[in-house]
């Protein structure tokens, strides 16, 4: 009884509307960093991509760099490759995550060891997994050595190109390894919160396994699944290290293209690099806005985390 009252009181306090000024005071250091460094960085990037680059003798504002970027066929090849790779990585990771979360929930809900191992990829830097993928999948990597020793291929030349390749298999492998635990844990949190009552009802009504999944589990996890997928998509769309190490030389993924243009000896391609960076930022922001929308819709229905 006592504890119940305490929670009720503290909830009441949480729900009372606070003066925004006091709250902004508490958030001031964080907001200052985000406004000045993050917002400032993007704003200054925009100014530079609009051609204000006094160091190079350019001081008028122009949309030339954006139109130049948008007229560049290489940019569209990069954009296409980036969309293809972040979409396929996200979709495959999402599919694996759904089955992993269901298996996890059914089989290993309480095993701390499995849970610990499962979380390892979350903390491993992308650069390390990219290095590991090179060692594993390169033409002279571990997999190729294994196949040769098993007599399945007769030389490294017979091993398919999986790193720095056209289809980005190496990039996909690195991203999937990294993102599956993240998506799985997002879904798992919802599955655990939902309990098993609905599934019991489904079973009493003689629903098969597929029907239970399709009409009960999937609708429950969908908002979190969508939000997690969008976050992963946004991340893979803008990340640099993995495609820099595992990507082919042409066409490059967009973040690599942006950086290459930015660091080009020709100062004039610098604004174009920044413009490409801003295109990335815009796509990522749109994906996050959609993720936020999904989570809020879910919260209204009462099924969010």
């Amino acid at each position: 009884m006592m504890t119940k009252q305490t929670t009720a009181v503290s909830e009441a306090r949480t729900r009372t509307l606070q003066r925004p000024a006091a709250m902004i005071g508490l958030m001031a250091p964080a907001l200052a960093v985000v406004a000045v460094l993050f917002g400032g960085g993007l704003a200054l990037g925009l100014v530079q991509s609009l051609g204000h680059l006094p160091a190079a003798g350019m001081s008028s504002l122009t949309l030339d760099h954006f139109t130049h970027v948008l007229a560049d066929p290489d940019f569209f090849r990069s954009l296409g490759l980036t969309l293809y790779l972040s979409l396929t990585s996200t979709l495959i990771a999402t599919a694996i995550s759904v089955s992993a979360a269901l298996a996890f929930n059914a089989l290993a809900g309480r095993s701390r060891v499995i849970q610990f191992i499962f979380q390892i990829p979350l903390t491993v830097p992308h650069l390390v997994i990219a290095v590991a993928v090179v060692f594993m999948l390169a033409p002279n990597g571990l997999l190729s050595r294994l196949l040769l020793n098993l007599g399945l291929i007769d030389s490294s030349a017979a091993f398919p190109l999986l790193v720095n390749d056209r289809w980005g298999f190496g990039i996909m492998a690195a991203y999937i390894w990294k993102e599956v635990p993240f998506i799985t844990l997002m879904i798992l949190a919802v599955l655990r919160g939902a309990g098993s009552e609905l599934l019991d009802v489904g079973r009493t009504l003689k629903a098969g396994r597929w029907q239970c999944f399709r009409h009960i589990t999937l609708p429950i996890i969908f908002p979190s699944l969508g939000a997690a997928g969008l976050i992963v998509f946004a991340y893979t769309f803008g990340a640099f290290e993995v495609p820099y190490l595992l990507g082919q030389t042409y066409p490059m993924m967009l973040p690599v293209w942006a950086y290459k243009s930015y660091s080009d000896v020709d100062l004039l391609s610098r604004p174009e690099g920044i413009a490409a960076g801003l295109v990335i930022a815009a796509v990522v922001t749109a994906a996050i806005a959609m993720a936020q929308g999904l989570t809020q819709a879910a919260r209204r229905r009462g099924v969010a985390l």
Binding site: S10, T14, Q18, R19, P20, M23, L26, M27, P29, A30, L31, V33, V34, L37, F38, G40, G41, L44, G45, L53, A103, L107, S111, R112, I114, Q115, F118, L122, T123, P125, H126, L127, V128, V131, V133, V134, F135, N140, L142, R145, L148, N149, W177, F182, L185, M186, Y235, G238, F240, E241, Y244, L245, Y259, Y262, G277, L278, V284, T285, A289, Q292
Partner: protein
Amino acid sequence: MKRVIFGSAVAVAVLLPFVPLALWAFSSRWFYPHLLPELWGLRAWTYVFDTAGAQMAEALFQSVRVAAVTAILSVIGGVPAGRALGLYHFRGKDLLSVILMLPIIVPPLCVAMGLHLWLLRLGIAETFGGVVLVHLTACLPYAVFVMWGVFSNYNPEFEDQARSLGASPLKVVVRVMIPLTFPGIVVAALFSFLLSWSQYLSTLIIGGGKITTLPILLFALMASGDRPVAAAVSIVFVAPALAALAVSARYLGSRRMMGVW
């Protein structure tokens, strides 16, 4: 039985990429097509800690220094903001939380390219401080989100009790709030540290090659093609991440582990 199969599948999938790393790091000669190193040895490690010891120690020191300062600043900004978001309701909260969330996802590439020229003019590009500032844009919001979670489960009535016993505001913070949220603060600091620790491109752009952290060294090694040494440095690079995971698993259980990229 099924549980054992699932557990082993998870373990294999997660641990497989570390196999070639470990093999390369402890090989002295390993030509294609041998499945295992022909000659095991510590050549890579003697190179890392002896021959190139000074360069390696410098990179390690630089990485630790940047990440530690970034983590401390992130926590200082993250605790009050997390308190505001986790404990109170106020107008504009949704908007402010989205604004704070953006830097976590928008790649540091875009921000670093924009900031570079400005920091050059201010004379802080290619310095330690400049690199910390650009890392802070990504790490501080992350600390805010960890602390938001911590403060949503925090009961501020202990503070009322301390206040009614005559504690000053400063004393309430130091003797009540910080001890009660300490595990969360540790995790926020750890994750900000890790996020800064694994930054590559923003360090490269703002540091301009002058601030050589571990990832910058690792990329150079990968380009040079010395696999044993690159593998050894990768292991050094990943070690704090695994240590942090172990520590936070003890402190907080599993839920708060989500979202370190």
